[in-house]
Amino acid sequence: MKDLVNKSAKELNKLFLSKEISAKEIVNAFYKQIEIVEPKIQALNSLTKDLAYKQAEELDQKVSRSDKLGPIAGVPIIVKDVLCVKNYHATCSSKILENFIAPYESTATSNLWSAGAICLAKSNMDEFAMGSSTENSAFKKTKNPWNLNTVPGGSSGGSAASVAAMEAPVSLGTDTGGSVRQPASFCGVVGLKPTYGRVSRFGLIAFASSLDQVGPFARDVYDTALILQHMSGYDPKDSTSLNVDVPDYISKLNIGNLKGKKIGLIKELIGDGIESEVRKSVENSIKILKDLGAEIVEISLPNVKYSVPVYYILATAEASSNLARYDGVKYGHRAQGTKEVLPMYTKTRQEGFGAEVKRRIMLGTYALSSGYYEAYYKKAQQVRKLVTQDFLNSFEKVDLMITPTCPTTAFELGSKVEDPLSMYLSDIATIPASLAGLPAISVPCGFDSKNLPIGLQIIAPALSEELLLSAAYEFEKTCNLFNKTNMKVSAVVVG
């Protein structure tokens, strides 16, 4: 059983299709692992056991009938609690949606279940995906499997930690300003944010609509590509989803793709504020990329320095609007004992939302207010266009770009809770690609002296996920950190 949870999605699928193990055995093995590690990691909000065993049974029937099954059949997945899985809780780790049961399925998960994936659990997160440490959850504090005193990152901290702790081979997160890439970096796993519009947002409970994307976590690039492959595609239920074909990512994962590629190192994101050990690790990564035949050039994106303020205006503005619907009238938490509608609204929202969510609603409301709109929201939209243009200009000169995913490695629990600004700066390197809607991946590239993982971010032009994945794949193969990851995490959490 313990061997089974070490396996990648690819390996599990192979074992399942060759009938060496049943889907039910896979589910059993991972629930056993969850039982062992979950008390320490606290990555999950709820288990979806009924669904998992139902899906497993169907898969086992199919395999016994020799029905045609694909490359993610039998692969168990953990889903961030911001995505709707029909008839199961979707809490967003918020008290206001604590008892909300989704009456519909998100398109991303629906695509995965159709391809034979199995839903194991819903994972913990920063409330409404607002945060960089998962400490903003109303329910629990998820620990980083590499060091239980540190945070797993956020907002998809539960999904990242669960994959690092082998509660599942792969999981889904959502990335608005770095919420997949940053926790991937902290937890030593791979995390990808697709091009905006690549994956449908239907059934993804919105934080900031113009930035949100569903992204996969896995312990290697191959599994990441596998999941992206099967959840992507145009969805008529999401007007912002892109009506373009999804390429075969897996067949493009070859060694030798990096030879002759030009990779830009974004000058503005490797300077001040980046921990020296992180910088050293990125420098080492540059050496590896060079050895693989890539040419590294330093590039400048002059407007990237405005990314964090621009992001915190736009994302909070959209959030203030998206979260207005949680008012106690229709579903979710409703405050008791009020007699008029206005006190009902305010008490409901006062009780239902946590401090960070309230802070962002207020920031966003302010930015959209009459008299401030021009100075904040509109100006931020203009700068967002400039940042996007910076990327477009630079991608005429380079094929890919790299930055450290995060300026630091995982920080200690509670260390930044009282300092939101320093928490916000944790996303300084991931926000620019979000603003430009570009695909970006975080791959493990080393460890600091405290043995905490470091991530390298690779950014590609829009809809160039194949190039992004094949570059990350080749880098990962050469870096060869994967076995080390498995062993060390196992030691900490199972210990």
């Binding site: 995505l83 009456p103 113009s210 239920k237 619907r325 229709k330 509608v341 609204y345 207010s369 929201y377």
Partner: protein
């Protein structure tokens, strides 16, 4: 009451904001049916209920209707536009924002020709309707024991049609609203029912000294549910503002509610209490592209509109304005009339028949021309029978018309079956005329003395004897012959 009757020194300035519910099959951002009679909260889905994680998808028919309306009102249609969120908290608004259009309306700079005067249309934009609240123990949310929400109406497509403050009298405001309603019905985009709320008017009213070109402070009046209320609400508001100004006060900018019972407007909220709607572009929808080809395609579907007919009818058919008003009010009636004319009927006679007995019948039977059984050919035939003297007007009205309208039987068949053809044979009528004259010596004496009034009596008596079938012309001729 008109302005001159209140105080002479002020001119009223009026602008109208009309909300028109579109007659699409489904709602603007989801597939729920648009249907007004349904049980509460049955025509709803996660999208129009604003559930977490769902997304709006634009119904293209709404855009087509907006373009059609814009073209009919002489507007410019934009090449691209977007939707915005208008944000305020209210229990009938499930997302607590309304998807609307703010700074890029789909249509702008149009006009409506009202009695020869151009009333500017500033803009037309698309938006979603809210739900309906039902209050227990009060007629408002405030102070009620509890309130229930029906979300069936939520997401019904609306056009907001905003006029410039070009209207200068109550009558002009009413005529503008009536013509606009008529056009929306001609276009078949809205059924224009004010009482049921499928068309709603907000009225901006301000006063200024006659001769001044500066706009006075306006108030916006809501809850106007009929053309009659529109007139009453503006009257009441002019009176109120005039009193304030005459007593040296200042009108404050506010939203007021028209109260049907008292006939007065009452303050709803002042400018200071007005919502800050915090508009921003709707990120869940992509910008809308509108091609020239699409606009041209829609242009083809626009029928001749009532205000064009109003200009054309006197020239083509020689009708007076009162008759025209009745005929063109409803597009089906106007098109029916034109079909009858195309079949060769006399325009004046056809108009009289449609406005008179046909309309009376339709009203009595609570139906309309399109749902009656009479085809334009059948009416044209009936008119031919009258013109040829085969039947007279009274028989046609009393015995034939109702049958055609209700059963669709041809006039010819009815005439034959009932034997209604006029008696035009002089020989056959001579005896009847003689008898009537002989039996009424007193009246005959009067007639001989030149009292022509009595002639009608004799014609009537002959009619009675012949079951109304005698030709009145011939009866008169025969009476003259007897008197010689």
């Amino acid at each position: 009451m008109t302005l001159t009757q209140t105080k002479t020194e002020y001119e009223v300035v009026i602008g109208l904001e009309v909300h028109a519910q579109l007659k699409t099959k489904t709602k603007i951002f989801c597939n729920c049916p648009v249907d007004f009679g349904a049980e509460p909260n049955t025509n709803v889905c996660p999208v129009c209920l604003g559930m977490p994680g769902v997304l709006p998808v634009l119904n293209k028919q709404v855009v087509a209707y907006a373009i059609k309306t814009g073209l009919a009102l002489g507007c410019e249609i934009v090449k691209h536009c977007k939707f915005d969120r208008k944000q305020y908290f209210y229990p009938d608004l499930p997302k607590n924002y309304q998807i609307s259009q703010y700074d890029q309306p789909i249509c702008s700079n149009g006009f409506l020709d009202v009695n020869g005067k151009k009333i500017g249309i500033q803009r037309i934009h698309m938006e979603e309707d809210a739900g309906k609240l039902v209050h227990a123990g009060s007629d408002r949310l405030h102070g009620s024991d509890y309130s229930l929400v029906d979300y069936n109406r939520t997401g019904t497509p609306l056009l907001e049609i905003v006029s410039l403050p070009d209207i200068r009298s109550i009558e002009e405001a009413r005529d503008y609203a009536q013509l606009l309603r008529s056009i929306l019905r001609y276009l078949d985009v809205c059924d224009g029912n004010l009482e049921e709320g499928s068309m709603r008017c907000d009225v901006n009213v301000s006063l200024r000294p006659v001769g001044s070109s500066i706009l006075g402070t306006r108030s916006e009046i809501k809850n106007v549910n009929s053309f009659k209320s529109l007139v009453r609400a503006i009257e009441a508001e002019i009176e109120r503002q005039t009193e304030i100004l005459n007593s040296g006060g200042k009108v404050i900018q506010e939203t007021r509610l028209f109260e049907e019972n008292s006939g007065k407007t009452v303050s709803m909220r002042s400018k200071e209490e007005a919502h800050d709607y915090r508009y921003f572009p709707e990120p869940d929808l992509v910008p809308l592209e509108i091609s020239k080809e699409w606009i041209n395609e829609i242009k083809e579907t626009i029928p001749e509109l009532p205000h064009n007919k109003k200009i054309r009818y006197p020239k083509d058919y020689g009708l007076n304005s009162d008759d025209i008003k009745v005929l063109i009010e409803d597009r089906n009636m106007a098109e029916y009339y034109e079909a009858v004319i195309r079949l060769g009927a006399n325009p004046k006679k056809a108009a009289n028949w449609l406005i008179g007995p046909v309309t009376a019948y339709l009203k009595e039977h609570k139906t309309d021309i399109i749902n009656s059984c009479m085809t334009p050919v059948q009416l044209a035939d009936l008119l031919v029978f009258i013109e040829k003297g085969i039947i007279n007007d009274n028989i046609a009205k009393a015995e034939i018309l109702g049958e055609i309208l209700s059963n669709g039987t041809n006039a010819k068949e009815i005439i034959e079956q009932k034997g209604l053809a006029q008696i035009t044979d002089e020989g056959a009528l001579k005896q009847a005329v003689k008898e009537v004259l002989d039996q009424n010596p007193e009246q005959l004496k009067q007639l001989k003395e030149g009292k022509e009034k009595v002639r009608g009596f004799f014609v009537g008596q002959v009619m009675k004897k012949t079951d109304g079938k005698a030709s009145p012309n011939i009866v008169n001729k025969l009476i003259d012959e007897f008197l010689k």
